[in-house]
């Protein structure tokens, strides 16, 4: 059974997609994003070939805040 992934173009076979994962340390947070690109050959989705069709984001708060600390971060 073919697994599918939800994208801006609808449900696409996972085998037609490639993803890259980026990680960035933003100080108080670590951000990870996964961008999915369509690599399939289905003419129905020709306009999406080579395009990013989905992006997932994870934000991890490294350190919370102190209610008795500085007012702004």
């Amino acid at each position: 059974m073919t697994r599918t992934v939800n994208t801006i173009a609808g449900e696409l076979p996972e085998s037609d997609l490639e993803f890259t994962t980026l990680e960035q340390d933003c100080g108080d947070t670590i951000v990870m994003s996964r961008e999915w690109t369509y690599k399939g050959t289905d003419a129905k989705y020709a306009e999406h070939v080579g395009q990013m069709v989905r992006r997932d984001c994870w934000v991890t708060i490294k350190t919370g805040i102190s209610a008795t600390g500085s007012a702004e971060l």
Partner: protein, 164 residues
């Protein structure tokens, strides 16, 4: 529009002294009748929408990201299975699980760089604190994907809300 600002909401400190927030449960006593904990939630705001710690004392739909996928106005409640505690003269509390929305598109002007933690049980939905989501003014732009906010380790140095 001005940048969003992270930090403890100014009014929250006063509200703590007035007993307006219950992060954990407490035993009944002669004067306080509320023994159950409140529900806290997280709402997301658009980049450069001027949401700050002095001008935003409560949750408001203004400048919130638009409804998309699982994200609807007012955001989502946090799991709160861990009572506040203290160590080394610091009290702390952290939601007990990540907060996540699937199938969301927050691109262009709907990108988000601010999460507001607020007390959804309180009258007026009093705000607790704002947290930046990555780089200020850039933020996060999920597209037909999942957005997940993962909480820090729940201890006296990294807990989400700490009082020293």
């Amino acid at each position: 529009m001005a940048a969003n600002t992270a930090g403890v909401i100014t009014a929250f400190r006063k509200e703590l002294l007035c007993g307006s927030h219950a992060f954990g449960s407490q035993a009944a006593n002669g004067t306080r009748t509320v023994t159950t904990k409140d529900v806290f939630a997280i709402a997301l705001y658009r980049v450069t929408s001027g949401v700050g710690i002095t001008n935003s004392s409560a949750y408001a739909a203004t400048n919130e990201v638009t409804n998309t996928g699982e994200y609807t106005a007012a955001g989502r409640s946090c799991a709160n299975a861990t009572e506040p505690t203290f160590a080394t003269n610091t009290s702390y509390w952290t939601p007990s699980a990540s907060v996540s929305w699937t199938n969301v598109t927050m691109t262009g002007t709907n990108a988000t760089d601010l999460a507001m933690l607020y007390n959804s049980t309180s009258t007026g939905k009093l705000a607790v604190a704002n947290f930046l989501l990555g780089t200020q003014d850039v933020g996060q732009a999920p597209s037909a994907g999942t957005f997940t906010l993962t909480m820090p380790a729940n201890d006296q140095t990294t807990g989400l809300i700490r009082i020293t």
